[in-house]
């Protein structure tokens, strides 16, 4: 058992995860840059606008490439482990929600945003279980143990981000807690992405070893 398809697919998932994190960082930087810029006037205004557009476009391009890599990676990996296919469904749901968020507002966007967050969590849940299955077949108990831990962390982090976002909608803004909680929610999601990256990296190394084992 060398799972060549899973190896190629997980490699792409790993690259996609890195791009996804970079894209999030770029969006964060563009928001901070815009907020920290002084009152724009004349040439300074053009400068601020172009830098913001540049960073945001880079973030969008990375996000799109990450999405395509994730989709292709899962499609390849599913030939060796069927549960990767379920993660693929939720990638498509996430993409649909992101598009809906571009055009919608109000309750429509709140529902789309909630579905998007839950789907992101489910993508990772199915990727982790798939890797867990592969590790079981390869007899790699260390990756299995790490998988359980990563699953727990990601569920707690994304679950917390989801609950915080619901809570933020209800608390009075005058207390200024809402903004702080939104930052906490973003940090939770970001740590979740890092945990996912680390575990996918572990899976990639496990599958690479399996390839080398056969070749040697």
């Amino acid at each position: 058992m060398i799972f060549p398809n899973a190896y190629t697919g997980v490699k792409k998932l790993f690259a996609s995860q890195i791009l996804h994190i970079l894209s999030t960082v770029f969006f964060f930087v563009s928001a901070v840059w815009l907020a920290a810029s002084p009152e724009p006037e004349g040439d300074a205004f053009e400068y601020v606008v172009w830098i913001t557009i540049g960073i945001s476009v880079a973030g969008v391009v990375m996000g799109v490439i990450a999405f395509l890599l994730q989709l292709v990676g899962l499609n390849q990996a599913r030939r060796d482990e069927r549960l990767f296919k379920k993660a693929m469904y939720f990638v498509i749901v996430c993409a649909a929600c992101t598009i809906a968020l571009l055009f919608g507002n109000g309750m429509f966007s709140r529902i789309a945003s909630g579905v998007d967050e839950i789907s992101t969590l489910l993508i990772y849940v199915y990727i982790f279980i798939s890797v867990f299955n592969l590790a079981e077949q390869l007899g790699n108990t260390s990756v299995q143990k790490r998988g359980k831990l990563a699953l727990l962390f990601v569920t707690v982090l994304f679950g917390a981000a989801f609950l915080i976002n619901i809570f933020v909608a209800f608390i009075p803004e005058q207390v200024d807690i809402a903004e702080n909680l939104s930052v906490i929610s973003t940090i939770c999601e970001f740590i979740g992405y890092i945990v996912a990256l680390l575990y996918i990296g572990t899976a990639r190394r496990m599958l690479a070893k399996a390839q080398r084992g056969v070749l040697s």
């Binding site: 055009f103 309750m107 279980i129 909608a169």
Partner: protein, 387 residues
């Protein structure tokens, strides 16, 4: 059972439960909901970006049929919204003010006095009027506070999940399809064109003698209903606590012998507000002086038509800017475009109503719905010149 199978089963159960919740939310918000012009107005308020409004107007139909935010922006440059609901109760006014504080922090809050001028408690205990406003408020601490203190225990869930009350509305389809489409279209567009304004295209038809010409000399007072006076004091206490810049206003009405006591109660309320340091504009008493013609500028005894609303808006906006010191904050580029759309839609609506009233005097509602908005395209959005 294997670990993977346990997780898969948990995920499936969670997805099922979340799907049921999401379906209920969609049904409650779009399909099994009593959507009317009040819903669209309140919904539109929450779509306004945080801290983007210079003034918020709160009250009943007396204000949403009298003040045109699009016109005020075009002529005076300040942004405003009508967080108003048909026959809003005094509790509704208090909750609306708290919601404005929670979401907008505007430079000024303008409250139309009507909710405090009833001679009895009938309006405040009218379930239909209570539901018309509170069903449309999103769940928040302020809504929960109202529910906890004012709603009987067995009715509380209806306010939290209006689906419980309106689940049988499906029998009223397809008649409700236009309002459902209006709700969806507002949600997708993300902002309200008329900023809460609603009118009826009609010129008043009544044989009752109008007493508006006597009002400028009317100084008599009549006590407010004790419960409503207590509510007013509660509201003023809250405004003091929050250091809010609040201005009270009484919009013009076609005053008859039957409604004359409301004028006296309004005078009393003006004195109470002034004593607490809040300005109160009894525009109703000066309606004739600002050029509001009782035979032409009303669509019924309680509401002005577009002709009256235009005059009232110009008058009040000028007072708010120059006497009350309302300031217009600079807008972001995308918001400027939205407000330009609001100006165009308001001017188109004026001409649409003018056209309807000149052709026939059959009453027709004109508001933020897909049917009215689709018709507006046929009319010019250029500035309305006052005579």
């Amino acid at each position: 059972m294997k670990f993977q199978d346990k997780i898969t089963r948990t995920v499936k159960v969670a997805i099922f439960l979340l799907s049921v919740m999401a379906s209920c939310l969609v049904l409650q918000h779009y399909f099994l909901r009593n959507v009317d012009h009040n819903s669209l107005r309140v919904e539109g308020f929450y779509q306004e970006p945080r801290d983007s409004l210079d003034a918020v107007f709160i009250g009943a139909s007396d204000i949403y049929s009298s003040f045109m935010p699009g016109r005020a922006y075009e002529q005076y440059g300040f942004t405003s919204y009508l967080l108003a609901s048909e026959a809003i109760t005094s509790e509704g006014i208090k909750t609306a003010v708290k919601e404005v504080v929670r979401t907008q922090h505007p430079g000024m809050v303008v409250i139309e006095a009507n909710a405090f001028l009833y001679g009895d408690n009938d309006n405040d205990s009218n379930q239909a009027h209570i539901h018309k406003f509170f069903d449309n408020l999103p769940l928040s601490v302020n809504k929960l506070d109202f529910i906890t203190h004012n709603v009987p225990v067995d009715e509380r869930w209806e306010y939290v999940f209006p689906l419980i009350k309106y689940h049988s509305l499906w029998t009223e389809y397809p008649d409700r399809i236009n309002m459902m489409a209006s709700n969806l279209s507002l949600d997708v567009r993300g902002y309200n064109y008329l900023k809460g304004y609603r009118t009826t295209a009609q010129i008043i038809k009544t044989d009752s003698p109008c007493l508006n010409s006597k009002l400028s000399e009317e100084n008599g007072e009549l006590a407010l209903n004790p419960n409503l006076e207590a509510q007013l004091n509660d509201l003023l206490d809250y405004c003091d606590q929050q250091h809010l810049k609040v201005v009270f206003v009484r919009a013009p009405h076609y005053v008859t012998k039957e409604t004359y006591n409301r004028v006296k109660r309004s005078n009393r309320m003006a004195r109470l507000c002034n004593e607490r340091g809040y300005h109160y504009y009894t525009v109703e008493n000066d309606a004739e002086h600002i050029g509001i013609d009782p035979k032409h500028d009303f669509y019924d005894r309680d509401h002005m038509n577009v002709y009256g609303a235009l005059k009232f808006t110009d008058y009040l906006a000028e007072k708010l800017m120059h006497r009350e010191g309302l300031k217009a904050d600079a807008l972001k580029e995308d918001l400027t475009e939205n407000w330009q759309d609001a100006v165009t839609a308001t001017n188109q609506l004026y001409r649409y109503c003018d056209d309807l009233m000149s052709k026939s005097n059959e009453a027709r509602g004109a508001q933020e719905d897909v049917v009215t908005l689709a018709t507006l395209g046929e009319y010019s959005g250029a500035t309305i010149k006052t005579k």
